[in-house]
């Protein structure tokens, strides 16, 4: 599903590479944590999978598509097969939960009728049934992140990328979000999550890839943090 083959990325003006000869292979339906200190290069991997940055060396293959050689005009269509969740939720403040999710469908050309059918379903799935018409500021942090997950998942992507999704949440709420991601993973969606949160990693007992200074120092099938 995802292959990084001897990937090296050095940002301009950086003294050392952000990723240094990294190779990882992730199968369909896997749940993988990328852990490591700030600046270790975890987020660079997410950006590469989104075709936001390109490696200097090596190859990145996502969904059978070679992202390295992908032209930028193909990027929009490519991204429709990937859902993405961030630490800061990135919701539109002037739209309700429903509208936030529907927006993601409508801007890729889905009709309002499709949105009316699919959005309530996915909001129900993330546990926001009955709160469709609340605005982000009327929702708790955890609920906002659920909206973000709903938005990422509504298009039934093959891959869900989560960049520190629990970074702004308290431990209990974080666990709930993790349960949600786990449920999504059980539908067959590959989940790649970058995190600092040792509790979560230790509880989930999933594959852990640890990165330090741009190198993989550990890749464990049912790992813990640290």
């Amino acid at each position: 599903m995802i292959q990084l083959e001897q990937v090296t990325k050095t940002y301009p003006k950086a003294s050392r590479p952000s990723l240094d000869n990294v190779s990882v292979s992730i199968e369909k339906g896997e749940f993988v944590f990328f852990i490591g200190p700030s600046g270790s290069g975890k987020s660079t991997i997410i950006k590469m999978l989104l075709h936001e940055v390109s490696p200097n060396k090596g190859r990145v293959v996502v969904n059978g598509k070679d992202v390295t050689s992908m032209r930028s005009w193909k990027r929009p269509h490519f991204r429709r097969s990937i859902g993405c969740v961030f630490q800061d939720f990135r919701l539109l403040p002037n739209r309700t939960a429903y509208e936030n999710v529907a927006f993601a469908l409508e801007v890729i050309g889905k009709t309002k009728a499709v949105a009316r059918r699919v959005v309530p379903e996915v909001l129900e799935l993330v546990g926001l049934g009955g709160k469709e018409h609340r605005y982000p500021h009327e929702l708790s942090g955890g609920e906002q992140q659920r909206v973000a997950v709903a938005r990422a998942f509504v298009n039934r992507p093959l891959i869900l990328l989560a960049d520190e999704p629990t970074g702004n949440l308290d431990p209990d709420t974080s666990i709930e979000i993790m349960r949600l991601l786990d449920r999504i993973n059980r539908t067959g969606t590959t989940v790649v999550m970058v995190t600092h949160d040792s509790n979560i990693v230790n509880q989930m007992r999933r594959r852990v890839v640890e990165i330090e200074s741009g190198r993989i120092v550990r890749d464990q099938a049912r790992g813990v943090y640290g």
């Binding site: 929009p76 927006f103 409508e106 801007v107 890729i108 009709t111 938005r151």
Partner: protein, 291 residues
């Protein structure tokens, strides 16, 4: 649905920053009016040149003491000259008749001038009115020739003035266009900033580039087109108030501007207004949206 979405975004965008939108439209309108006026004048001057140069003459006035031999010799020479299309001899009687006609409103003047005082002349039509200089050089020194007058000299002055007015209009149009361009760029920046969250989400979920950019570009294009419509209104008002109004006295001199001319110039204005806006918006987005 997508078309509806884009159009509603355009309207919202124009309304969001309505003072800037108005400034943009006004500048655009002034610039395009100038452009239109300059285009109309260009056609006008061309038409007038055709009209006037076709009818102008070079007059060779003869001295009072000219002998019949000199006159006949000159006539023969002129008739054989390849530069000359037509030669008309005007004797004293004919000259006097023309003089009387021309000044029929001033009988005192007509009475004061006697037929013998008026010079005989040859009136020439040239194959190419711009070759006046050759005629002048060739016949200036001829015996019996007093003076050579070229009407096109006078016309050239008039046309010089018209051309410079036209150039001023064009220059004003370009300066205003530059101002309009900056306003468009600024409006698009503000729009891109106020919609940065939406744009970020759209990019994230894979909305196509045209879909992200279209509302911004169309916003500018709509403003440009409204500007060109206002420019059209301004030109119509100018024709109505100036040419059919206070400048009506000059109608014989200026060839009239028809409604057709104005309608003909409108696509140019609309095209330039729309295209300049679209390109400016698109280039601005390259820098501020990075889609």
């Amino acid at each position: 649905m997508r078309v509806k979405y884009v159009l509603s975004e355009v309207l919202v965008g124009l309304w969001r920053n309505v003072t800037m939108t108005i400034a943009m439209i006004i500048t655009m309108a002034v610039s395009l009016t100038m452009l239109g006026a300059s285009g109309l004048m260009y056609r006008q001057v061309d038409e007038m040149k055709d009209l006037y140069y076709k009818n102008i003459e070079v007059s060779i006035f003869l001295t009072q003491e000219v002998t019949p031999e000199q006159r006949d010799g000159l006539n023969a020479k002129l008739s054989g000259d390849p530069l000359v299309k037509e030669v008309l001899y005007v004797d004293k009687a004919e000259a006097y008749k023309r003089f009387q006609e021309m000044y029929q409103d001033a009988p005192d003047l007509v009475n004061a001038v006697k037929q013998e005082q008026l010079p005989e002349s040859f009136r020439l039509k040239l194959n190419n009115p711009e070759q006046y200089k050759n005629i002048y050089d060739q016949y200036k020194g001829t015996e019996g020739v007093d003076e050579i007058v070229d009407q096109s000299r006078l016309l050239d002055k008039i046309f010089d003035i018209l051309t410079s007015i036209q150039n001023i209009a064009l220059a004003a149009s370009i300066v205003m266009a530059a101002a309009a361009l900056l306003l468009v760029a600024n409006t698009i920046q503000v729009a891109a900033y106020s919609k940065r969250r939406e744009v970020a989400v759209m990019k994230l979920v894979g909305a196509s580039n045209w879909f992200i950019q279209a509302p911004f570009v169309l916003e500018a294009v709509v403003a440009g087109l409204i500007g060109s419509l206002l420019g059209l209104v301004a030109l119509i008002a100018a024709k109505y108030l100036l040419f059919d109004g206070s400048l009506k006295a000059l109608q014989g001199l200026l060839s009239p501007i028809s409604w057709g001319d104005i309608l003909f110039i409108f696509p140019l204005m609309a095209g330039v207004g729309g295209l300049v806006s679209a390109v400016t918006a698109w280039v601005t987005l390259r820098f501020y949206l990075r889609v």
